[in-house]
């Protein structure tokens, strides 16, 4: 229920959306990246954010023994996947933009519609 987290996520999503609506294609790719980053923060927030501490890191001390209280490993696994996928998406979007520029000789998306 943290307002600070919510404001950060909301702000990043707003910035990302604004960038997605630009006519400069590179800025659209920027927007894609920002929205991805906002999603990471959102996912981490779903697991709850506590004061960082060594004990909370989801790496268990020993093989065996009791199960300690740790930060939610599920959201971390999800975000790890998301980081890699968003890397792939951003890279592909960038090269697509480059290729689109070569074909259309402009990166203004409004000029693509003829």
């Amino acid at each position: 229920m943290s307002v600070a987290l919510a404001v950060a996520v909301g702000g990043l999503f707003a910035v990302g959306t604004f960038l997605l609506l630009r006519r400069d294609l590179v800025r659209v790719v920027f927007g894609l990246a920002v929205v991805s980053q906002a999603t990471f923060v959102y996912l981490i927030a779903m697991g709850g954010v506590a004061e960082g501490a060594r004990e909370l890191v989801p790496v268990l001390d020993t093989h065996g023994g009791g199960v300690p209280e740790i930060a939610d490993p599920v959201v971390q696994a999800l975000v790890l996947t998301a980081i890699v996928i968003s890397f792939g998406t951003t890279a592909l979007a960038l090269v697509l933009s480059y290729r689109a520029y070569e074909e259309n000789e402009t990166i203004d998306v409004t000029e693509w519609v003829r």
Binding site: F18, V26, G48, G52, A77, T81, L92, V95, I107, D108
Partner: protein, 798 residues
């Protein structure tokens, strides 16, 4: 005797399995696939026949959390319907094998016919509402394929789509009605359940629960609308005559024993649950109205199949009306007529097919005196048509007499306007006699138009209707035999109280017997004036006032078509920002509306996270704003990198070192990639129009607000317990995965397939990038080398 789950499930599943295999079978067997289909239908019939006399519910759980299970209830009513569908299925497949000789698309035809039969069996036997709905919709889908069998024919496509729209639209009403029932079960049975058998067992509690929540009438209206759409009740009857464009065996199957009976069947099924004054008013009126309108339109029909189609609507009305009345005779009329109608209507359709096949026309005005060339067919028609007319001692008479008794009893008790019930029923029956005689007339008398040589139909075409007519004759001679065998069980299942059906020829005069006499004598007396009557009805139908429901249908469909043709270009105009705008705006508004409607005000904690986290996030948002205001692409990339590295620090502070490590590597790579690409791109274009900027800002704030609200409302508080999934993975990391880093174990062990998929995505992206970068260069080289020769590089050349 309790039913056997394996036997019942097999009986329902076999047609579906055969439907999947039908294309293969067709390759091996060719046109003999029809006989294989008959064997499948016979197998289902045999399996179900072993269950006759058993009674009870069998269940195998499917989604226990929602209490959804594969549940079948075996009783007389379900078995009667299922046996009729599979039994007539056998004959229809045999008939098809010959009738569809030389047609194309037979693999699809048999697959759809098998799937259709399986869905009907499913509807008849399932007693879990979810499964009933699924099978119900499957009948609509497979009948769509069957009605539209001649895909080249525009009329066929039009009719198939009409049947689809009407019956699937009805199916949506059913879905809503079933959900209302499931919710009402919360009060009556304790907990949401989809178990129809339990609802029927506790019908009083269910009714009380529905009444209490004020949902009784909506549930009733929804269920009856669904049944009316499926069973072609006025004003949704118009799809049925159009559906006759299907091949004749399909019409015989759809119209006699299966598709259109589904609605009637379901009304009989929920009758004990929903019986109330509202039910009587709605269902009985609907049924009698359809009975009359259908009979009138059948009298005016000139095409053999059209006549039979309207007659089907009329007889469905009879069954619906029977189920509508809250007297014992009503339920008896409905159940017994379900059997009788199947036994006389299926052979009549098959006969219409034979006549069309051998005489080459379906126009009743041109057909006459066919008994000379088609004596056996004429005899079959004699039995079936007289039964349809309700002339004693043929089987149709018994069930129609039961309806007369029901209407008379209701009118006698209620008095007043209720006397309309027997009056309307009698008038409808007069017209029933007229059109039955009209159909029969094509075999008697003199030839009306010269018809070239008429062949004797082959045995495969005459056999199936002859078998059905024989069955009808047996029921005519010994009705009590059929009643004892299966109809009595069906009557008990659909009755609101105790019921014991006894049928036979009347031995003394009573008002219902008088009604029958009036109907028969009136019908025979009216027959000579058929042509004038038909002309009058035709004028009424063609009247300029919008009385034709099919006109409303055409209007609705064409309006929808033109509206979507206009709406499409508006949202799909090829501009990226338009797509983003509609998707983001619609998603945000829907999510915010959902939150506003359901969530309360959460307990707010102004900061709620450690100070360091707050600082890092503030820097991240500021970096984001800097990306927006950056004056060049390079400045944008650098500020974007600041944002990315801030997120990495956020990961460290949130106790996620693995993520931070990955994020740092990925951010560095992305920075390099951007710089590599940017040097080849032109400098940036700024948006200068303030109006556009303002509009985009509003949408961005809307999306931001949605994200803000959903974080506030859905994230757990600081003291919340970890989720059960998280607990499970943490506890099982060492014993189950053999690793102490829980995140790694989740990725490479518990969710290894997801990670494999992720690797695949990255690989595909890498290949795509490689192709995008290299293909262009190669294409250009090829062009410069060979000037004239166009090089195919995926159509990318200018």
């Amino acid at each position: 005797m309790a039913p056997d789950l394996t036997v019942v499930t097999t009986a329902v599943a076999v047609p579906f399995v055969a439907a999947v295999l039908a294309p293969l079978l067709y390759r091996v067997l060719g046109e003999r696939t029809g006989y294989a289909g008959a064997a499948v239908a016979a197998a289902s019939f045999g399996l179900l026949a072993t269950q006759v006399g058993s009674h009870g519910t069998v269940r195998s759980p499917w989604i226990p959390a929602l209490e959804v299970g594969l549940q079948f209830t075996i009783d007389g009513w379900g078995l009667l319907f299922a046996l009729l569908a599979s039994g007539i299925g056998v004959l229809v497949f045999v008939y098809s094998a010959r009738y569809m000789h030389g047609e194309s698309g037979l693999a699809r035809y048999y697959a759809a016919l098998l799937a259709f039969m399986g869905s009907i069996l499913g509807v008849a036997l399932a007693s879990d509402l979810v499964f009933i709905f699924v099978f119900w919709e499957l009948t609509s889908l497979s009948s769509f394929v069957l009605i539209g069998h001649y895909t080249e024919d525009a009329e066929s496509r039009y009719s198939a789509r009409m049947a689809m729209v009407v019956t699937v639209g009805g199916g949506l009403c059913l879905l809503a009605g079933l959900l209302v029932l499931a919710v009402a079960a919360r009060g009556a049975l304790g907990g949401v359940t989809f178990d129809l058998a339990a609802m029927l067992a506790n019908d009083e509690a269910m009714r009380a629960s529905l009444r209490e929540s004020g949902l009784f009438v909506p549930a009733l209206a929804l269920v009856v609308t669904a049944a009316a759409a499926k069973s072609a009740q006025v004003p949704l009857h118009f799809w049925l005559p159009n559906a006759m464009v299907a091949p004749t065996p399909v019409s015989a199957f759809l119209h006699s024993a299966t598709m259109v009976k589904v609605g009637v069947y379901f009304l009989g099924r929920v009758r004990p649950l929903m019986m109330s004054p509202e039910w009587v008013l709605l269902v009985a009126t609907l049924g009698l109205l359809t009975m009359t309108v259908g009979a009138l339109l059948a009298v005016a029909a000139t095409d053999t199949k059209e006549l039979l189609a309207y007659s089907t609507a009329s007889h469905l009305g009879l069954m619906v009306a029977g189920f509508g009345f809250d007297v014992v005779y009503g339920g008896e009329a409905g159940t017994f007529h379900l059997l009788n109608h199947a036994l006389f209507k299926a052979p009549l359709f098959l006969v219409a097919g034979i006549v069309a096949h051998e005489a080459g026309t379906r126009n009743l005005d041109n057909l006459g005196g066919l008994w000379r060339e088609l004596p056996i067919t004429a005899a079959i028609t004699g039995v079936a048509a007289l039964s349809m007319a309700g002339i004693p001692p043929f089987n149709g008479f018994y069930s129609k007499e039961l309806l007369f008794e029901a209407t008379y009893e209701v009118a006698h008790e209620a008095g007043g306007l209720a006397w309309l019930y027997p009056g309307v029923a009698t008038v409808a029956s007069v017209f029933t006699v007229v059109y039955s005689v009209k159909f029969l007339a094509m075999f008697v008398g003199e030839r009306r138009a010269p018809i070239a040589d008429i062949h004797r139909p082959p045995l495969a075409l005459v056999g199936p209707p002859a078998a059905l007519a024989t069955a009808a004759a047996v029921v005519s001679v010994a009705p009590q035999l059929a009643v004892d065998a299966i109809v009595q069980g069906a009557v008990e299942a659909t009755a609101t109280g105790k019921a014991h059906l006894e049928v036979g020829l009347p031995t003394h005069f009573s008002p219902p017997v008088g009604m029958s006499a009036v109907a028969i004598v009136g019908g025979l007396a009216t027959y000579p004036f058929t042509e004038r009557l038909a002309a009058g009805i035709g004028r009424g139908v063609d009247a300029p006032i919008p009385v034709r429901p099919s006109g409303w249908y055409d209007c609705a469909v064409s309006t929808a078509t033109t509206t979507s043709a206009r709406f499409g270009p508006l949202v799909h105009n090829g501009l990226l920002r338009t797509y983003v705008f509609w998707v983001a705006a619609a998603g945000s508004v829907l999510a915010l509306a959902g939150f506003a409607a359901t969530a309360g005000v959460p307990e707010l904690d102004v900061v709620g996270v450690p100070l360091a986290v707050t600082v890092v996030l503030v820097v991240a948002v500021l970096a984001g704003l800097a990306v927006v205001t950056a004056s060049s692409h390079v400045a944008g990339v650098l500020t974007l990198a600041i944002l990315g590295f801030m997120i990495a620090i956020f990961f460290i502070l949130a106790s996620a070192p693995d993520l931070a490590l990955t994020q740092l590597v990925v951010e560095t790579l992305v920075l390099l990639l951007f710089l590599l690409v940017l040097q080849r791109l032109p400098s940036f274009y700024a948006d200068v129009r303030p109006l556009v900027l303002a509009r985009d800002a509003v949408l961005s704030i809307l999306v931001g607000a949605m994200a803000f609200a959903s974080v506030l409302l859905t994230t757990p508080g600081p003291d919340a317990d970890p989720s059960s999934v998280a607990e499970y993975y943490t506890a099982q990391a060492v014993p189950g995965g053999g690793g102490s880093n829980v995140v790694n174990v989740v990725l490479v062990d518990f969710r290894a397939f997801d990670t494999l998929g992720e690797l695949l995505v990255v690989t595909v992206a890498a290949i795509a990038i490689l192709v995008l970068v290299t293909m262009r260069i190669r294409g250009e080289e090829a062009v410069t080398e060979g000037e004239e020769e166009p090089v195919s590089d995926g159509g990318d050349l200018p």
